[in-house]
């Protein structure tokens, strides 16, 4: 890590993303995340917050700027992106569980195939993770037999099975029925309390207020404003005020 101090685990500088069709999705976005920090990104839909999150593990490539994640320079040709992704877990809005595998099978797959862990060890760790997210009795169920909240908790366990240094959450509760939002947020809170570095794109203002170390507001591809939660929500920034007025 060449950047300022060794505590910064994500350093994104002047990230620009222009789609081939000319859509300017990210405009000079810079963000630094410290180790163990929980950063929540909010903003209206189409503001580029999901796009930005996806550039952090290169599910989206960037047009210019630089991103250093966990000591890996994502622009460098020598960086093996698969090694970066092992260390950066991601949870999707639509869960994206593997439908042909059981809950335990989903959690075990990558440790087995990527980290080449022995079957028994992968299974033990998988069971422990599923137990942690409250799914001890659902290990052998296929995703189609799980509720949305349960599926999302399996997805979190699946990402954790790779023992990541960073977890990215892309609107993890947006596809859930309201009564299931709580169980997923609870798992995320526990994770934050355990000291996991997290970047969360969400519309859950309560979660942002309660768990975040820092809240970031994005609009039209720009990072408009970042602040600690208490000061963030009482800020007088006009663009932020307009957005908060619409959602709260």
């Amino acid at each position: 890590m060449t950047n300022a101090d060794n505590k910064s685990i994500i350093v994104a500088i002047d990230v620009d993303k222009i789609y081939p069709n000319g859509c300017h999705a990210l405009k000079k976005v810079s963000l630094t995340v410290e180790k163990g920090e929980v950063v929540v990104i909010i903003g209206p839909s189409g503001s580029g917050k999901s796009t930005f999150l996806r550039t952090l593990n290169q599910l989206e490539t960037i047009s210019s700027g630089s991103i250093v994640v966990d000591g890996f320079d994502l622009n460098s040709k020598h960086t093996n992106i698969n090694r970066v992704r092992e260390k950066v877990g991601m949870v999707f809005q639509s869960f994206n569980l593997f439908p042909h595998k059981t809950a335990l099978g989903n959690v075990m797959l990558s440790p087995r195939k990527v980290l080449k862990k022995p079957e028994q060890q992968a299974e033990e760790e998988g069971r422990e993770l599923l137990y942690k997210v409250g799914l001890a009795d659902r290990m052998d169920n296929f995703p189609s037999h799980l509720s949305g909240g349960q599926q999302q908790r399996v997805a979190i366990a699946r990402a954790l099975a790779m023992m990541p240094d960073i977890m990215l959450f892309d609107e993890p509760t947006s596809a859930l029925d309201p009564e299931m939002v709580g169980e997923v947020l609870d798992v995320m809170k526990t994770l934050a309390a355990d000291g996991m570095t997290m970047v969360v794109v969400t519309h859950e203002m309560g979660f942002a207020r309660e768990v975040a170390d820092r809240v970031v507001f994005m609009e039209e591809g720009e990072l408009v404003f970042e602040e600690q939660p208490d000061r963030f929500f009482s800020s007088s920034n006009s663009r932020l005020q307009r957005f908060l007025g619409q959602v709260l």
């Binding site: 599910l59 994206n96 296929f142």
Partner: protein, 317 residues
């Protein structure tokens, strides 16, 4: 209740139509004075031939064990005893003196007839072509989806060339042109033509199967650190395979039926065997019905096996 009555009625209609068809075939064969000789067919499937076992030397029968179907023959000149097992007809009894060349027992020998050999050849050629067609189809299907233009155009060209020309013509080209250049035997040329032909169709099935999988699956797999190949093998292809099983089954069945065309390059498959048997029996109706039935057994078994597999894979639904 009303609907149940209707169901019964229409089932009866179905049976009636089938009966009419049967009667129609019988009546029309009567009209052309055809004499059915079904009894001539079985010998072309399987025949029993008696095999005589003769004494290899002068000697005496020292032991007859009827229960275990075993005779022991001792030599007069100190040769090793001769043992016969699994005979069906006994011609000697214990203590008999035999001379070299005497018949001591008879075995019933089962011989496969030409139709059975044809069936085996059809099965063999279909199975080998199927394996290669799957491999070709998988790789061409993946190439078709590649971001590399060379791979993409190559696969499109291959698919369009093969799908746009008749299989019969392809078999001739493989046998007479490629076969001559590369010095291929008939079987290899036939298998190559069938595999290349079926591969083009399987490639399209594979492509559609992969495209039908939600892109989120690939993203999830990649975000867990898997590379493209691992994501394909462990996440995308198993799902695509399950989804494309019905069209794949159709393609496999087509392959078995298409294999009848290799008879034009003198491979004695079921169809060519049928033609040969017709020329020796002069019973074309029976032979071709029998051949059709044998094809039906093959395709039926395959379609049954794939249905079983489909049911097993449905566990995760």
């Amino acid at each position: 209740m009303q609907t149940q009555h209707n169901q019964l009625f229409w089932k009866a209609v179905f049976i009636l139509i089938m009966l009419c068809l049967g009667v129609g075939i019988y009546v029309s064969s009567k009209a052309i004075d055809y004499t059915w000789r079904w009894e001539r067919i079985p010998q072309y499937l399987i025949s029993i031939e008696p095999l005589e076992i003769r004494a290899p030397f002068d000697g005496s029968v020292s032991q007859v064990d009827e229960k275990r179907h075993r005779i022991t023959l001792d030599s007069d000149y100190g040769d090793d005893p001769f043992v016969v097992e699994n005979f069906d007809d006994l011609h000697v009894s214990e203590g008999d003196i035999v001379f070299e060349g005497d018949i001591i027992a008879r075995q019933e020998h089962w011989n496969l007839g030409p139709l059975s050999w044809g069936l085996i050849m059809t099965l063999k050629i279909s199975a080998v072509s199927l394996v290669f067609a799957m491999i070709i189809g998988l790789f061409v299907g993946l190439a078709r989806l590649s971001s590399n233009p060379a791979l993409r155009y190559l696969s499109v060209t291959y698919i369009e060339l093969i799908r746009g020309t008749p299989l019969l013509v392809q078999i001739f080209i493989f046998y007479f042109f490629i076969g001559t250049v590369l010095d291929l035997d008939r079987f290899t040329a036939g298998v190559a033509a069938l595999a290349v032909f079926t591969g083009a169709y399987i490639a399209e099935i594979v492509r559609s199967g992969i495209q039908s999988i939600n892109p989120g699956q690939m993203e999830a797999a990649r975000s867990l650190g898997m590379n493209y190949v691992q994501a394909m093998i462990y996440v995308i292809l198993p799902q695509a395979f399950k989804r494309t099983l019905p069209p794949l089954a159709g393609q496999f069945i087509n392959l078995i039926k298409d294999s009848s065309l290799v008879s034009v390059i003198s491979i004695t498959d079921l169809t060519k065997a049928g033609r040969e048997v017709v020329s020796s029996t002069f019973a074309p109706f029976e032979v071709w019905f029998a051949v059709a039935l044998l094809y039906l057994v093959l395709t039926g078994a395959l379609s049954w096996a794939i249905q079983k597999l489909e049911k097993r894979l449905a566990a995760s639904d």
